[in-house]
């Protein structure tokens, strides 16, 4: 007996077509990653924090020019030097009063040094009477500039080196990987110090010294990605159709490893910020009166016992920025590759 369609009633849906329809909208790779990233609160907070800091660093050029932060009045150093942070509110530790080591009572430094009434420094002043707040803003700019430019150089060298090595394969790849192996067995500190010594102290030479060590891991990751991507069908198709190698790299390989590259960038920036501070600490950093977060920390370090805020404020800034980059990097890695983090 032949089955008759009229004998059957479709239950639970309007039509069989509706049943087949997948209601979830098709998301592109980036939309999907963004949707997943939004679920990670820490990563989103870090992202907004970093956007704010970057925007602030750019905009602050208008209201805190470098000259204003470097300038000091040599006649009034005695009045303005080493003033503790003063918010103008009666918050202990942030009201312009400080308890010197060995003392039992707190002293109002603003009154005892004869600072005119109504004048206060929200983050205090340094040993020659310059506002710490202004110095930290300028230092932040320099540190970010160094880190971001160094990372961009790493990005260009690392991606070009990695794609070339992986794409060529054979003995070219072998030689290029040996070079990376040799370079990475030399401690970064030494490469940075050597280049710092060789190039002298200027912002550009600091950037170059840092960039020379950072591209290695980028190149290694990009090469591994290239090795696996070049066997994919779409790359083979492009090859068969006669596309040039450089076009395949730019159009097919790099866009498909963008996730890995972005995560790698997020890890490179904080290490560049740290190496800038290390260079400052070993006397190869920016020269005074220019300030970076690292030079602010190492310059004030000798007075840690008496004026801890001069060290701790730039340190806190440096740590917060590194932390934000690492949290965002973690979040992006999970967002780009959900399978890797599915527990």
């Amino acid at each position: 007996m032949a089955a008759n369609t009229e004998d059957f009633v479709i239950v639970g849906a309007q039509s069989s077509d509706a049943n087949e329809h997948i209601s979830k909208p098709a998301l592109s790779f980036w939309q999907d990653a963004w949707r997943r990233l939004k679920l990670n609160k820490l990563a989103v907070i870090s992202m907004w924090f970093l956007i704010f800091i970057l925007a602030f660093a750019v905009v602050s050029n208008i209201f805190v020019p470098q000259k204003a932060a470097n300038a000091f009045n040599s006649d009034k150093v005695g009045v303005y030097k080493n003033l503790p942070p003063n918010s103008g509110l009666p918050i202990p530790g942030w009201d312009g009063k400080i308890k010197a080591p060995g003392d039992t009572t707190v002293t109002d430094v603003y009154a005892s040094q004869g600072v005119p009434d109504g004048e206060r420094f929200i983050l205090g002043t340094d040993n020659i009477g310059r506002s710490v707040a202004k110095r930290v803003i300028v230092g932040l700019r320099i540190s970010l500039l160094v880190a971001i430019v160094a990372t961009l150089i790493d990005l260009v060298i690392g991606v070009a080196y990695g794609v070339f090595s992986g794409w060529k394969g054979g003995w070219v790849d072998n030689v290029m990987q040996r070079i990376i192996e040799i370079l990475s067995s030399i401690p970064n500190l030494i490469i940075v110090t050597m280049l710092g010594l060789l190039l002298g102290s200027g912002i550009l030479s600091i950037i170059l010294a840092i960039a020379m060590t950072g591209w290695l891991s980028m190149a290694r990751q990009v090469r591994n990605m290239t090795l696996s991507l070049k066997e994919r069908d779409y790359v083979l198709a492009a090859k068969t159709l006669g596309e040039s190698s450089s076009k395949i790299a730019v159009k097919h390989l790099i866009p498909n490893m963008a996730g890995t590259i972005i995560v790698q960038i997020m890890m490179t920036v904080p290490s560049a910020i740290m190496f800038e501070a290390v260079l400052s600490a070993i006397n190869l950093g920016v020269k005074p009166p220019t300030a970076s977060l690292g030079s602010l920390i190492s310059d004030a370090q000798a007075m840690l016992q008496f004026y801890p805020y001069q060290v701790l404020i730039p340190s806190a800034m440096l740590v917060l920025i590194s932390l934000a980059f690492i949290l965002l990097g973690d979040g992006l890695r999970d967002a780009f590759d959900p399978r890797a983090s599915e527990d």
Binding site: L189, A281, N283, Q301, L318
Partner: protein, 305 residues
């Protein structure tokens, strides 16, 4: 296995040769000279140069340096007259090595414990707290941590001494913590993800099916296999410790080679800079070699690759 070790040793010697060559020629083109004292007469200058062998042709200087370096002789310091660089380094190396080893052991052991605790408490509060702590540990550079520790436990609450080395154990506590936090954080994150992976692996499923207790599964199967990959981390962590320890030795006035290295930079004491560079590179390469060999011994799967 022996072939593998020999091959790696050959590479190590070759790489070291390249490092020595590179440092030697880099030092030749470095700007500045330690002999720029205007009081020096040409005669005195010539005599100084003869003392340090700087009057010889470049290729001979290079050859001499290479032969010397192979014997562990790195020339004479510019800054401390008549002091051989190898002696300066020799005095200070044990201090740095002790500090580094102490920090590495403390960091890795703490990381192994925290990583395992984290994995066993996956996605609950303990895991969350440890996750935040380990992310913080990775973000805070060791020298900033050192400064904060000096401030807190040296000045605010003076519990520990903040400078010196070799007089008492308590002196080593703060610098060790400052250096150990980063390896601890890296190990924690790594062990956690390794252990979560092995807890869902087939051999753990089998152990469960055989009716082993939870404790036995974790201790005998999951944890052991999660520990092996940690070995591969020791190389990169040692590199991080090298960087960290130079500044930590400065902060805590520890007479190690890191401090020597930093002091020799402003005085352009090139023989010391070169000697420390080579010793640093050799130490790092040796650490990486040892961990690779250990990994190959512990995990037979690696040897096949």
């Amino acid at each position: 296995m022996w072939k593998y070790i020999l091959k790696r040793l050959g590479w190590l010697v070759f790489t070291l040769f390249l490092v020595i060559t590179a440092t030697f020629f880099l030092m030749q083109i470095m700007p500045g000279t330690p002999f720029n004292n205007p009081k020096l007469t040409p005669d005195a200058l010539a005599q100084l140069k003869a003392t340090y062998g700087l009057d010889l042709p470049l290729w001979q200087q290079y050859l001499n340096y290479l032969i010397g370096a192979a014997h562990g002789d790195f020339g004479i310091s510019f800054q401390y007259q008549n002091q051989p660089v190898s002696m300066l380094i020799g005095q200070r190396l044990p201090v740095s090595a002790a500090l580094g080893a102490q920090a590495l052991v403390v960091g890795v052991v703490a990381g192994l414990i925290m990583g395992a605790v984290s994995a066993r408490n996956k996605n609950n509060k303990i895991d969350g707290v440890l996750g935040i702590l380990s992310t913080l540990g990775i973000s805070v550079p060791s020298f900033i941590l050192g400064i904060v520790l000096v401030y807190l436990f040296g000045f605010q609450w003076p519990i520990f001494p903040v400078s010196g080395w070799g007089d008492s154990f308590s002196e080593t506590i703060l610098p060790t913590i400052a250096l150990a936090v980063s390896p601890a954080a890296i190990t924690t994150r790594f062990v956690r993800s390794e252990m979560i992976e092995s807890l869902s692996s087939d051999y753990v499923q089998l152990a469960k099916a055989k009716g082993l207790s939870d404790k036995e599964i974790v201790n005998k199967h999951a944890y052991r296999n999660s520990m092996i990959p940690v070995l591969t981390l020791i190389g990169p962590m040692a590199a991080g410790l090298l960087t960290g320890s130079t500044l930590i030795e400065q902060i805590f006035s520890i007479p190690g080679i890191g401090q020597q290295f930093v002091l020799s930079i402003p005085s352009k004491d090139f023989p010391v800079i070169m000697g420390t560079t080579i010793v640093y590179a050799a130490m790092l390469m040796f650490m990486i070699l040892i961990t690779d060999i250990l990994t190959a011994i512990v995990d037979p799967r690696v040897r096949l690759q």
